[in-house]
């Protein structure tokens, strides 16, 4: 039997935090009010001094958890391999940074770390003893544009299978399950000068059940004639690679990975007035997860904020609220 639980990534409310419209406390209270059970946090975003947070910050964090009753599900961790301008970090330096993150997650009461896409596979084995000691699992994010067909992700998955430990797994971002190209991206980028023909071409790919990333990979990153014909300007040519991050996989791609999947990001570009998200069919995904006995959290990750049109208000709170209402309704229907 599945145990799918609603969660919100605080990433969704980043502009509220950046502009000091909401404090971390207010954000957590908002999330609680909208019925989420868990939260996901980027320590680098909302906890000062991460990964060396002060005792004072830690005390405040624990107080907020106690007050709201929210479960701190997962910490989104980055690896600054380009910390220095003149060189890349060595293996040992990279591993040491991640050990710090594991220790911090443990202090925060968090038992799962999301490693950002492209984190190299060779960190896993040296980190395992620390994962076990601190009871913190590490899971690579499988994100559109950097998903199952990318060498770095493939190498991580091979290592994950080889180690076969409950402390090494995957986080799936549902941007790999787009059935339509997000119209908020189209509107925003049209204002920036991208031609209609480029979006029309991408839309036809989604209508055919594929996506730009898949087509480019299949063509060895050479642009098909139809894409060349759609490109009207140098601006278009520079923009096309940025359309790589919206993929159209079938849910069955997850079949073999289900035992390793620790968490989901419900990527959110736009909740439409009628209910579902514009590009993704969450209900179908949640049904798939239910049928596969998924026991874990699904976290709202709103990213439409990046595509807020000039002069228009940010609608982070409204979008998160609408998403949680829809997800919780779906879960009730599916799980009872």
């Amino acid at each position: 039997m599945s145990r799918i639980k609603p969660c919100v990534s605080l990433y969704s409310l980043q502009n509220e935090y950046l502009t000091k419209s909401m404090t971390l406390k207010e954000i957590m209270q908002f999330v609680k009010e909208h019925g989420a059970e868990g939260i996901e946090i980027l320590p680098d975003q909302m906890l000062k001094g991460s990964p060396d947070i002060s005792e004072e910050t830690l005390k405040e964090w624990k107080g907020l958890l106690e007050e709201t009753g929210l479960k701190p599900v997962i910490a989104d961790v980055f690896l600054n391999t380009n910390l220095y301008k003149n060189r890349t970090l060595t293996h040992r330096e990279s591993i040491d940074l991640l050990i710090k993150e594991i220790k911090q997650a443990s202090r925060l009461g968090i038992h799962l770390i999301r490693l950002v896409s492209m984190v190299p596979y060779w960190v896993c084995e040296p980190l395992l003893p620390y994962c076990e000691k601190y009871d913190v699992a590490i899971a690579l994010e499988v994100h559109a544009g950097m998903a199952f067909d990318i060498p770095e992700t493939k190498a991580f998955i091979a290592e994950m299978k080889r180690l076969n430990s409950p402390y090494v797994g995957l986080v799936i971002d549902t941007g790999i399950f787009c059935r339509k190209f997000p119209r908020v991206v189209r509107e925003y980028e049209t204002l920036n000068g991208t031609s209609r023909q480029v979006f029309d071409y991408i839309d036809t790919l989604f209508e055919q059940g594929t996506d730009l990333h898949a087509v480019l990979v299949k063509n060895d990153y050479q642009y098909p004639a139809e894409l060349e014909a759609a490109i009207q300007s140098e601006h278009d040519r520079m923009f096309v690679p940025l359309c790589d991050g919206y993929e159209n996989y079938d849910f069955s791609v997850l079949d073999e990975y289900m035992p390793f999947i620790k968490h989901f990001h419900l990527k959110l570009f736009e909740m439409t007035p009628e209910g579902p998200e514009y590009s993704m069919d969450y209900k179908a995904l949640l049904t798939y997860l239910h049928e596969h006995n998924y026991d874990g959290y699904v976290a709202t990750e709103y990213e439409g904020n990046r595509f807020t049109l000039p002069g228009k208000p940010f609608v982070e709170k409204e979008q998160v609220a609408a998403n949680q209402a829809y997800i919780q309704k779906c879960l009730k229907e599916i799980q009872g």
């Binding site: 950046l18 680098d44 975003q45 380009n82 910390l83 301008k85 950002v116 896409s117 492209m118």
Partner: protein
């Protein structure tokens, strides 16, 4: 993508030290969605009324206490530019900006953990020096 974060409104002012105006200063939020050590600031550029400011005249700080040239900041890994907190940018120029209206353009780029090109944001503001 992060242009909206650049150059916080109403922050551009002349800076006075020991009775003399030594230059002007402005603040910006980060062109990223998380905090990073100062060493990951790829570059900061300022142009005033169409004229590019030489890099050596620019200083940056997260606390207005320790100021760094951009070359120096490349090794500053212990001070973090936090998300939601400003970076202070100072242009050393005797007398600062003259009274009246100026167009000041700020460009900020940060290195990120997995995106191969730095994330750049640009904002030009019309500012008033009283």
């Amino acid at each position: 993508m992060f242009d909206n974060n650049v150059f916080i409104e109403n922050t551009c002012v002349n800076v006075e030290e020991n009775g003399a105006v030594i230059g002007y200063e402005m603040q910006t939020n980060i062109t990223y969605y998380r905090g990073i050590p100062m060493s990951m600031i790829e570059y900061v550029k300022v142009a005033a009324d169409g004229a590019e400011v030489p890099t050596e005249d620019i200083r940056i700080s997260i606390d207005r206490v320790d100021w760094f040239t951009q070359k120096e900041a490349e090794t500053v890994v212990d001070y973090k530019w936090e998300y939601g907190e400003p970076l202070y940018i100072r242009v050393l120029k005797d007398g600062g900006l003259s009274k009246g209206t100026h167009k000041v353009k700020l460009t900020v780029a940060t290195r990120t953990a997995y995106i191969p090109v730095p994330l750049e944001g640009i904002k030009e503001r019309e500012i008033e020096i009283a």
